[in-house]
């Protein structure tokens, strides 16, 4: 008689319970290992990009405080400029918006294409830099002219109006064009020229800006060389100052500064991207103070932040200064304008 293969019910249940117990132990071990592996991976990034202390600004160096903050009033705001009467002009996707310093919209000049830069002459004439050409409006917003595009690869990213003409910063061709009031190009400034000892503008990304100082000289940012070039309106290079460093007194990253303005007393105002900072330098390029550090632009400081801009431009900042020395900063990522006034000296 062959031993029966069959189990009694009790045997089956007991052994089944034992077996289930073992399976449960094994399953628990596997799940625990899975959980632990996941937790370890989620804890830290061993390849994190560390900026160290550069992201924090020493509060003693910040000499400005926010007096007002408001939305720019137009989508994809790129540049700021002050006009007569300290009216703030904002170049945006659909229009040039004119605001007062409390943020109230005074006027809007609709445009056919996005404006990348704007400048206002002392006579109230508004020059809007669209991507490849300049359009001229009068103070009431009536379109007066649309200048011819200077050629191929034009990417206008900065405008300044002076006595000797209207200066347009063409980032695409790495040159500053001098226009006469009729719209004719009368000079090309900043182009590489060995005879004139001009090393040339190095512009890796579309952030070329131009500003005129009270001494009549042009300031142009040279982002690839981390410096500010000072030219005569005819194109002679007078002075170049600036150094590459992530520390507060220099220009961080690979291509900074991205915007340049001149304060009424001749000091320079610069903006940087990557570590968004707005700083003041002396007339000869010595570091003076910080207007706003990366802490003031939290969304802008996040890498790879909002890219709804169709031309692939990363965030960035712009700044403008009015006749009273008040500084307005524009955050390209959030579209917010902040009016900064100097802190009372302690």
């Amino acid at each position: 008689m062959k031993p029966s293969n069959r189990l009694t019910r009790r045997q089956f249940l007991r052994r089944g319970a034992l077996g289930s117990g073992w399976v449960a132990v094994a399953g628990a071990a596997l799940t625990a290992s899975r959980g632990r592996g996941r937790a370890a991976a989620a804890d830290a990034n061993p390849f994190a990009y560390d900026l160290g202390n550069a992201a924090h600004t020493d509060p003693k160096l910040i000499h400005y405080e926010t007096a007002a903050a408001f939305a720019s009033g137009v989508g994809d705001a790129r540049r700021l400029a002050f006009g007569p009467g300290d009216r703030l002009h904002v170049a945006g996707k659909t229009a040039i918006t004119i605001l007062d310093l409390r943020g109230a919209k005074l006027q809007e000049i609709p445009l056919a294409a996005p404006a990348r830069c704007v400048a206002v002459g002392p006579d109230g004439m508004i020059y809007a830099g669209l991507r490849d050409h300049v359009e001229v409006f009068d103070a009431s917003g009536r379109k007066l002219a649309s200048w011819e595009s200077p050629g191929k690869k034009v990417w206008l990213s900065g405008l300044a109006v002076g006595e000797k003409g209207i200066f347009a910063a063409d980032a695409g061709n790495r040159v500053v064009l001098r226009y006469d009031p009729a719209g004719k190009v009368t000079a090309r400034i900043g182009e590489r020229n060995k005879q004139r000892n001009v090393p040339g503008l190095i512009v890796p990304s579309p952030y070329l800006d131009v500003a005129l100082g009270p001494d009549g000289l042009l300031r142009v940012n040279n982002p690839g060389r981390h410096c500010i070039d000072i030219y005569t309106p005819d194109g002679d290079l007078e002075l170049s100052w600036g150094k590459p460093t992530a520390a507060i007194e220099g220009f961080c990253g690979c291509c900074n500064p991205i915007a340049i303005e001149v304060l009424p007393d001749g000091r320079h105002l610069t903006c940087e991207k990557g570590l968004p900072r707005v700083k003041v330098y002396s007339a000869t390029g010595q570091f003076d103070c910080v207007v706003a550090g990366p802490e003031s632009f939290p969304e802008n400081a996040k890498t790879g932040s909002i890219s709804d801009k169709s031309d692939g431009v990363l965030g960035g900042l712009d700044a403008a200064v009015d006749s009273q020395g008040r500084i307005c900063t524009l955050d390209l990522v959030t579209g917010r304008v902040a009016v900064m006034k100097a802190k009372a000296k302690v």
Partner: protein
């Protein structure tokens, strides 16, 4: 040679078995038809959407292969060719040379070649790259964003469920048709 089926009165069982088999075959056929309706198109492969990637570093550590199939890729047309490349150098290099203390890449996979003053070309040696995205982070923060991570299909095994895609915190992995297996950037900081 198989023996003849025994003449056992198991016709009921045989009938049940035949019926079950027919039902199973019908079921299988139906399943096949239903799934085939959704099948088709090219086979799919895994790829990273560079717009979504946040450079978390998981690509280097979660691939089932020892050396990750994800590599950094350079879109040279977007690059600014900067002398001080923030994808190559540490945020504050002591000097602009190839010393390891100044370089960002943990495996020295990114090579710097002089073109003309002051332009340098940067290229990735895929044999050394581990896909950690440190250079991608530096490039996207300060620069034009011409460096980005992509799954390299001469290395990827195309697992049924990509282990990196499961670990990706922002769901940047997609299954895209194998005949266009890359999502390359064509514009700085944009698509």
């Amino acid at each position: 040679m198989n023996p003849p089926i025994p003449q056992f009165p198991r016709s009921r069982r045989q009938f049940l078995r035949d019926g079950a088999r027919a039902a199973a075959l019908t079921g299988l056929g139906g399943l096949f038809a239903l799934t085939a309706e959704r099948a088709g198109g090219r086979p799919r492969v895994w790829q990273i959407d560079p717009q979504k990637c946040v450079r978390c570093g998981n690509c280097a550590t979660h691939c089932v292969l020892e050396q990750s199939a994800v590599k950094c890729v350079h879109a040279h047309a977007i690059c600014g060719y900067c002398q001080l490349c923030t994808g190559y150098f540490e945020p504050e290099p002591n000097e602009l040379n190839t010393a390891a203390e100044n370089c960002l890449c943990p495996t020295a996979a990114i090579k710097r070649t002089y073109v003309e003053d002051p332009y340098y070309e940067y290229s990735i040696d895929e044999g050394l790259c581990i896909g950690c995205a440190k250079c991608v982070e530096g490039c996207n923060r300060f620069g034009n964003g011409s460096l980005f991570l992509q799954v390299r299909h001469d290395r990827c095994l195309n697992c049924n469920e990509c282990a990196i895609s499961k670990a990706c915190p922002v769901d940047a992995f997609q299954r895209i048709p194998a005949d266009h297996p890359y999502l390359l950037k064509t514009m700085a900081h944009g698509a």
